[in-house]
């Protein structure tokens, strides 16, 4: 059976992580930033699963499970903070809410 080289999986994970990083740096809409963080978490999980499949151990999939749990908790708190921010400042732009009251 033809096999997939482990380097290919890591390259894909690296590309996805880089895309997410660019998204965090470029976009200023807070929902886009959360989405890009989600992309990066997913890419890190992909690297775990590729490594786990390479050594035929379940640990990679277990780590992906924990990454998923953390992503779920992070998104729940992050999105409720987005709702708070929208009701307080009426904007989703991350650049507009860093001003101090002075």
């Amino acid at each position: 059976m033809a096999t997939i080289p482990v380097e290919a999986g890591f390259i894909v994970a690296g590309l996805l992580f880089l895309t997410g990083l660019v998204g965090v740096l470029v976009r200023r809409n807070i929902i886009y930033i959360l989405l890009a963080i989600e992309i990066m978490l997913n890419a890190a999980g992909l690297a775990f699963v590729v490594a786990g499949a390479h050594w035929q151990q379940p640990d990679g999939q277990v780590m992906y499970f924990f990454v998923l749990t953390m992503a779920a908790a992070e998104v729940a708190v992050g999105l409720s903070l987005v709702l708070q921010m929208y009701h307080k400042f009426n904007t989703l732009d991350a650049n507009l809410i860093n001003r101090m009251r002075g």
Binding site: T3, I4, L34, I39, H54, W55, Y64, T69, A71, L79
Partner: protein
């Protein structure tokens, strides 16, 4: 079977780069869901069937629905019906739809052929993952449940204030 991995990897990279470049958040979400499905097919091709199911059910199913809820909550009003009409036009869903169709073709093909090309020739099934989760990783599972509880309480506490503010407005 290796071709399936590479095609879905290409779909994942394309869909993710389209995610961060779209101006409309709903287009981005559709592309990101497509990228998650591509990741699921990649896991399936790698022989990690348990997380392949998990990424579709939890990541593409539950977490993305949370994003959609928040986006729908942020623009309620008389103009939202027009926005809904605009979202049903084909140019919104044709890109993610085609990419997802490609993934479906791959999945059906691999199911008919029934072989999963793994990096080292063997799948790591759900049984092994479950044994590892509730054996050496038991404490970590407990900690994950505590983390989810903390997330739940945090979201509840933060959401309560929003509900009060919207109640005062209406």
């Amino acid at each position: 079977m290796t071709a399936i991995f590479y095609i879905s990897a290409a779909v994942a990279v394309i869909a993710t780069s389209l995610t961060i470049t779209r101006a409309n958040i709903v287009h981005s979400l559709l592309y990101f869901i497509c990228s998650l499905l591509a990741t699921g097919v990649m896991f399936f091709a790698l022989g990690a069937t348990f997380v392949a199911a998990l990424v579709v059910i939890i990541n593409a199913g539950a977490i993305m629905v949370l994003f959609v809820f928040v986006i729908m909550m942020l623009n309620v009003g008389p103009q939202s019906a027009d926005q809904e009409k605009a979202r049903l036009r084909p140019h919104v869903w044709i890109g993610p739809g085609l990419l997802s169709l490609l993934l479906l073709v791959e999945l059906v093909y691999s199911l008919v052929r029934y072989d999963t090309g793994v990096t080292s020739g063997q799948t790591v099934g759900p049984q092994q993952v479950g044994t590892a989760l509730f054996g050496p990783y038991l404490l970590a599972v407990e900690l994950a449940s505590m983390l989810l509880l903390a997330g739940l309480l945090g979201a509840y506490h933060l959401g309560q204030g929003v509900m009060k503010i919207t109640g005062r407005k209406s």
